[in-house]
Symmetry: C2
């Protein structure tokens, strides 16, 4: 339907003109030092670094408008940057350009306690926000593990461990302010909890990865800190048994706040890294939110289900320190995994399938890892049917690299075949572009048509998604 987007090509003349203008406008806040530029092309990813030509540290939306106007005039790419925790090369600059660093736009502008809502700048991180909110009895539930910025999380439609109960960024953003490629500053929606006022431009920008607009303000939905929180750990004889217990938990409508699978290899890594002594078996980490009576009711129900599938012992704790230790270990699973094979590169996959296919998908994937002789511990937000394998690859071994590529192809193909997605929460970026059409067919043309219309010169994060 739409014309294909051109592959981004480097416009050296435009860049050579724009950078001095930005230098003059932003002074020291426009940095062209190589280290800074490389750091802004670097993410927690297996993709090679592609550094921007300059990094501008913005402090307000009007400055973002100025940068967009300058870059549009000279045909220069703009790449938004939060804290660089994305996993699919989202902040790389394949055609050069200007990285806009939002970390100084980190003010919490308003908290509407009565409305369970707040307004923040994009550089606010989730931990910063939750520390700020704690005394008010409120919290922002989305937790991708890393201390990402809210802007980055909105841009990639992030989720994480407690999406099973609280949803993803899609469900927890009320409204956005953003600068378009035209330089126009828009606000996508009112603060009303629901609205039927035309197209859902809020949701269009969420997950657009900086390719349609640069987010400068976010109105978030908050949740009340539950009266009681408890955690549990339960080992299982097999991954299949753990998956089946998860499926039954979800089907039973038990409102678990977190239900995470770690396979035996991941448990070994976590034990070593976080100094735990968990049995080296496939294990579920769980969290329950509610009233005192509610969390007990929930955990008893899950314990009974676990037992039915041969799991146990089901260890339950209401102590905050046990809980913190458990979730810190879960959040450190990435670093723990790297410890299994020092020097190896880590590649995190991210498929998500209907939960009825989860067990089958995990089993086929494990068999494939074995067949291809690859090492990859598994962690999963299994309540949502989403799991990650962390491939540990020796980048100096061409044969192993080829096997890893085969594995990733097959994994994406398997997820699509099971009516799932190649990316549950990490986004497309550079890494998943090749799978998008296989998954969504002509819908990709609709996306491209929208991109071409809203950003005809392809200046907003070119070379991502398409």
């Amino acid at each position: 339907m739409a014309l294909p987007l051109r592959q981004p090509t480097r416009n050296d003349n435009g860049i050579a003109l724009a950078v001095p203008i930005l230098k003059q406008r932003f002074g020291d806040r426009c940095d062209t030092g190589l280290a800074m530029r490389r750091q802004h092309g670097h993410t927690t990813t297996w993709l090679p670094v592609e550094a921007p030509d300059a990094v501008v540290f913005v402090e307000k939306a009007e400055e973002v408008v100025d940068i967009v106007d300058i870059c549009r005039t000279h045909g220069v790419p703009i790449i938004p940057f939060g804290v660089g925790t994305s996993l699919e090369g989202h902040v790389n600059a394949p055609a050069g350009g200007i990285s806009i660093d939002f970390s100084r736009m980190n003010r919490i502008l308003d908290v509407f306690e009565e409305d369970l809502a707040c307004v923040v700048e994009p550089g606010v991180t989730r931990k910063q926000l939750n520390e700020y909110l704690r005394d008010r009895g409120l919290f922002f539930p989305i937790d991708p593990g890393a201390d990402a910025t809210i802007g980055g999380m909105a841009a990639t439609r992030a989720s994480g461990t407690n999406a099973v109960r609280y949803g993803t960024m899609r469900d927890n953003v009320i409204s956005l302010e953003a600068v378009l490629a035209s330089g126009e500053l828009i606000r996508t929606a009112s603060r009303a909890k629901k609205s039927s006022a035309g197209y859902d431009i809020t949701r269009l920008l969420i997950g657009s990865e900086g390719t349609l607009g640069l987010i400068t303000k976010i109105t978030l939905k908050l949740s009340g800190i539950p009266e009681a929180i408890s955690a549990a750990v339960c080992p299982f004889p097999t991954v299949e048994a753990a998956c089946n217990a998860t499926i039954m938990t979800i089907q039973s409508g038990i409102p678990v706040a977190r239900i995470e699978l770690l396979d035996e290899l991941q448990i070994r890594a976590v034990n070593a890294y976080s100094k735990l002594t968990l049995p080296e078996q496939p294990t579920l980490f769980l969290e329950f939110h509610g009233s005192q009576a509610g969390v007990e009711e929930q955990s008893e129900a899950v314990a009974a289900i676990a037992e039915e599938f041969g799991g146990g012992p089901f260890e339950f704790s209401t102590r905050a320190e046990d809980r913190s230790k458990l979730w810190q270990a879960r959040h450190d699973a990435y670093w723990a995994s790297l410890g299994l094979r020092p020097g190896a590169a880590g590649i995190s996959t991210d498929v998500c399938v209907p939960i009825s296919r989860l067990s089958e998908c995990v089993e086929e994937t494990r068999a494939d890892l074995e067949e291809l002789n690859l090492i990859a511990p598994i962690v999963g937000h299994v309540g949502d049917g989403n799991f990650h394998t962390l491939l540990l690859v020796d980048n100096d071994n061409a044969d192993e690299r080829a096997r890893a590529a085969t594995y990733m192809e097959r994994l994406a193909e398997r997820a699509v075949r099971m009516d799932g997605t190649c990316t549950g929460e990490h986004g497309v970026g550079q890494g998943k572009m090749k799978y998008l059409r296989r998954e969504l067919g002509g819908t990709v043309d609709v996306m491209r048509a929208i991109k071409t219309t809203l950003d005809p010169h392809d200046i907003l994060n070119p070379g991502k998604i398409f």
Copy 2:
């Protein structure tokens, strides 16, 4: 940014060419009788009927593609029709054209019990779906009152009484199949519960009111029928007290399934129509879902809050027949209201504001009704900050019509001033077009740009939203 959409103009030549082609292709399923045409322009609305030139009853997606191809070739508008329960003139044909009646595409194609999901055709109604699901212990929670089609509900981003707990159509659609203006049939997403695979085209189509695509299949999220359901009724001394009790209930995180306000005039109407004997006071109707212990815990908590605001007696029932009677009365509030002034036209307003502003908004609105000497009972999904006033207007009285217009203008302005929306759940259609820019500014240009790109000849439901 984008060129403004032209006002739809009637293309008599195109229509004269297209209708015989459709007649030949669809035979008796293409109806040009005046009664049928008028019925397809008629909705529960105050807007004048604008009948299409023909009505085609489709049975499968491929037929929708054929109609789109024929109509695009001849520049003829297409207006999708479910069962005609929309309130803002969505099914009117201001430039003539073809009404596609989806009521025969009413098959439930798949139920994935393990995934709490199903796939339906757009003509399935919500009651039909829930009757089908009942024996499986599942239900589809969105309830706009009327027995609307799922396709229409998706197209208008409908919600209703239990959105406070279960969300709106935005939150309960996993994936859509739709025919675009190009004739292309797309599927917007996989069946995965969450995804970061590019732009959220599912959410873009939800609420697009048939202007971007014609929905031919919907994958829905389902919920388990709760173990226990109970209902309650509680009168309050004032509307303000009832609103404040609602605000505190929501802030306390009590997961009420429904919390509906009826003012004293609405109660009088409901008593007369549904043969109830409720005290003529502002009243909350509530519903609780959960375990036996859970619903008791919830209702006790709300009863205590109600008492704090001078409400009571709090009458609680777990009997299904009491509950049905209560919600039937609530759903009949529209018809009951019309009974207050036989012969008057009913105009339903639909503002939604942040809940912290709800009480103030309702009070200012009531004062305005009094000042303008208008009659309008109030019902509201107050847990979401959304309320309706049903203006009862004598259409033969020009002065009263003018006062009603003033009232609606001021109400929309008031909602926007309080950072809310002119339409919480009814959509824009023809009736709310004039308020959209006031509410969303330049975001309307983004919507228009997308419309122009995806439907360059403006054949899909022209004259709506913009």
